[in-house]
């Protein structure tokens, strides 16, 4: 068997294993959906009037703020879901079965690739579920073309891939599930500090660089542009560069941790 077909076959076996875990024990994934849905409802219904007055110059209504809010919530959903990946990788690495996998003549990276593919699928599924809640409470895209929809899904997938590889690395360095949950917390906190809820130029001056120079803001601005027709500008390229950079970094980090001798 060639090494590519070995990699594909073993990774898909590992993916099936991870999807089986997710299907058998959906509570971890579903719990992680609570935060984005809660934030969506909180900002749309409780803070919505004030927020829309703030961003629209006085005459915006709640549905306009909902439209502003949803792309950020979708990215936050992905960030939150990858925390679950960090936790499940940390749990898995403590299982004896990983030692067994290491002594099998399988593709070395397949254990982690299986985790990553499973997590990306879960991230996209979570984003779809949260998106459905958003649509149910009145979110509508603004004349997004088929091409823009495809790009939007592609962007969500790319962000999922990038954040998952980072999360897997965080899971690998964590001694247990609790530590992994804490270590991966920035993946949920960063979107809170981005342009998800208010535009960057509405923030205090000292804070603007923090919101500007982080991966979530360009990704959110790009998604906003694709779904709502707002200007994307250089954010599209920035988002892609951030994602590819994080994915490569996370991949190299995680695999080098995996190739180390286990304790």
């Amino acid at each position: 068997m060639s090494s590519l077909s070995l990699a594909l076959r073993d990774s898909s076996t590992m993916l099936r294993r991870n999807l089986l875990h997710a299907r058998r024990y959906p509570s971890l994934t579903l719990n992680l959906l609570l935060t984005p849905v809660m934030l969506l409802l909180l900002f749309a219904y409780i803070f919505g009037d004030t927020m829309s007055a703030g961003i629209g110059g006085g005459d915006a209504d709640r549905s306009e703020y909902l439209a502003y809010l949803v792309p950020g919530i979708l990215m936050l959903t992905i960030g939150g879901t990858t925390i679950g990946s960090a936790v499940s990788v940390a749990m898995d690495m403590n299982e004896g079965i990983i030692a067994r996998f290491r002594t099998l003549a399988i593709h070395r990276g397949s254990v982690l690739i299986g985790h990553v593919l499973g997590s990306v699928l879960q991230c996209v599924a979570s984003a779809v579920l949260v998106g459905a809640v958003a649509v149910a409470i009145g979110f509508r895209t603004t004349d997004a073309s088929v091409q823009e929809w495809i790009l939007a899904v592609g962007l969500l997938t790319l962000v999922s891939l990038a954040l998952t590889w980072i999360a897997v690395g965080m899971g690998m360095v964590s001694p247990n599930a609790e530590a992994a949950g804490n270590n991966a917390m920035p993946l949920m906190i960063l979107p809170l500090l981005s342009s998800a809820f208010v535009p960057v130029d509405a923030m205090p001056g000292w804070f603007q660089p923090i919101a500007e120079y982080q991966p979530f803001t360009p990704a959110i601005e790009t998604l906003r542009g694709l779904l709502l027709g707002t200007g994307i500008g250089h954010n599209g390229w920035l988002a892609v560069i951030w994602c590819v950079g994080l994915a490569v970094l996370g991949y190299l980090w995680s695999t080098s941790l995996f190739h180390r001798d286990p304790k």
Binding site: T13, R17, L20, H21, Y25, I97, T103, L104
Partner: protein, 346 residues
């Protein structure tokens, strides 16, 4: 501390080695776990690595099963170099570690099918292998239940069943019966014997002397990162002094006259038995027989007792290098001592 390997027999060079190692070393920080071990295990045999906790047994298994890399030394497993052809080694071996290596979140059957997939068996063949092994290990009934709900013995059986998917030629079993009840332990021995009769080579570690005695063709006693002794169970038992020849009589009068004729013997008046110290070698036996003949003594039963593995174990793995000085409570001159598996000294 024994500084060199005591090899008591000429090694069998006729059959190809399933596992061979020269000078394997491993240390963690400044703690040396393996301090240069040499091994040669002929294909189709059972090899037991015996030693107290912390002797380095698990580290040896981890190195030979490609889980960790050695700091020094060379090893070949199934004819492939461990360092340069680890994938080829992995393709030939099956490993059951000391701790359960089953996926607790999925069912026993799913665990087996996972292994079949990872061995790249065709779907039908994989299903068949999984079903057969589940049946053989008495797990068919529990096959659809999550492995996390299994008892310790069931998990262990599933563990071994998973190891056997893909028919490995060499299996590593790190303390395969630790934590099993006596029946499960005997079943496990039976399974290992069956595998070996089918040509499989088994490398097992154990703390149970009885287990090594029962199963292993060759035994190495590992102590403090070095092999203190290696050989068959019989050879090891002969390594330490303290064996005896036991003469039993049925006629009290014959017993008494023999006891008075032979001076340097231990008497066991109740059993009408005399114990003559002897290492059990052919030469010593002949000397004893000649002596008995010249004294005109004819015992009804003559048996040769060698020290059991417990004595060897304690002698070789004593805390402060007490090799060759069996000063443990298990004095070899006491016959019929219980040969139970026992937790050894830490």
């Amino acid at each position: 501390m024994p500084s060199s390997v005591m090899s008591t027999s000429t090694r069998d060079h006729s059959s190809p080695a399933a596992v061979s190692a020269v000078g394997l070393r491993k240390s963690y920080g400044d703690k040396t776990v393996l301090d240069g071990i040499d091994l040669r295990i002929p294909a189709g045999s059972v090899f037991a690595l015996l030693g107290p906790n912390g002797a380095g047994k698990t580290t040896a298994v981890k190195i030979l099963s490609t889980l960790i890399t050695a700091d020094g030394g060379q090893a070949q497993v199934a004819g492939h170099d461990l360092a340069t052809h680890s994938q080829a080694v992995r393709a030939a071996i099956g490993v059951t570690g000391q701790f359960s290596a089953v996926d607790g979140l999925i069912t026993g059957e799913e665990n087996m099918l996972l292994m079949a997939d990872l061995h790249h068996l065709p779907k039908r063949e994989g299903r068949q292998a999984a079903a057969e092994l589940l049946d053989r290990f008495d797990l068919t009934e529990a096959a659809k239940k999550p492995a996390s709900t299994y008892s310790g013995g069931m998990k262990r059986r599933l563990d071994i069943a998973m190891t056997l998917v893909g028919n490995p030629r060499i299996i590593f079993l790190d303390e395969p019966t630790t934590g099993l009840d006596p029946r499960s332990r005997h079943n496990m021995w039976q399974i290992i014997r069956e595998l070996v009769s089918g040509g499989v080579t088994a490398f097992l570690t154990t703390q149970y002397l009885e287990e090594a005695d029962q199963l292993a063709d060759r035994i190495a006693v590992l102590n403090d990162g070095r092999i203190a002794a290696e050989g068959t169970a019989e050879e090891l038992k002969r390594l330490i002094p303290g064996g005896h020849v036991r003469l039993r009589f049925t006629d009290p009068a014959a017993y008494r006259s023999a006891a008075s004729a032979l001076r340097e013997v231990t008497r066991d008046d109740e059993a009408l038995a005399l114990h003559i110290p002897s290492g059990g070698s052919q030469r010593e036996l002949r000397a004893i027989l000649d002596w008995l003949d010249s004294a005109g003594i004819e015992a009804d039963v003559l048996t040769v007792h060698t020290p059991d593995l417990d004595d060897v174990f304690f002698a070789l793995t004593g805390p402060a290098g007490t090799a060759h000085q069996p000063n443990q409570p298990n004095q070899p001159n006491q016959p019929n001592q219980p040969n139970q598996p026992q937790e050894n000294a830490r």
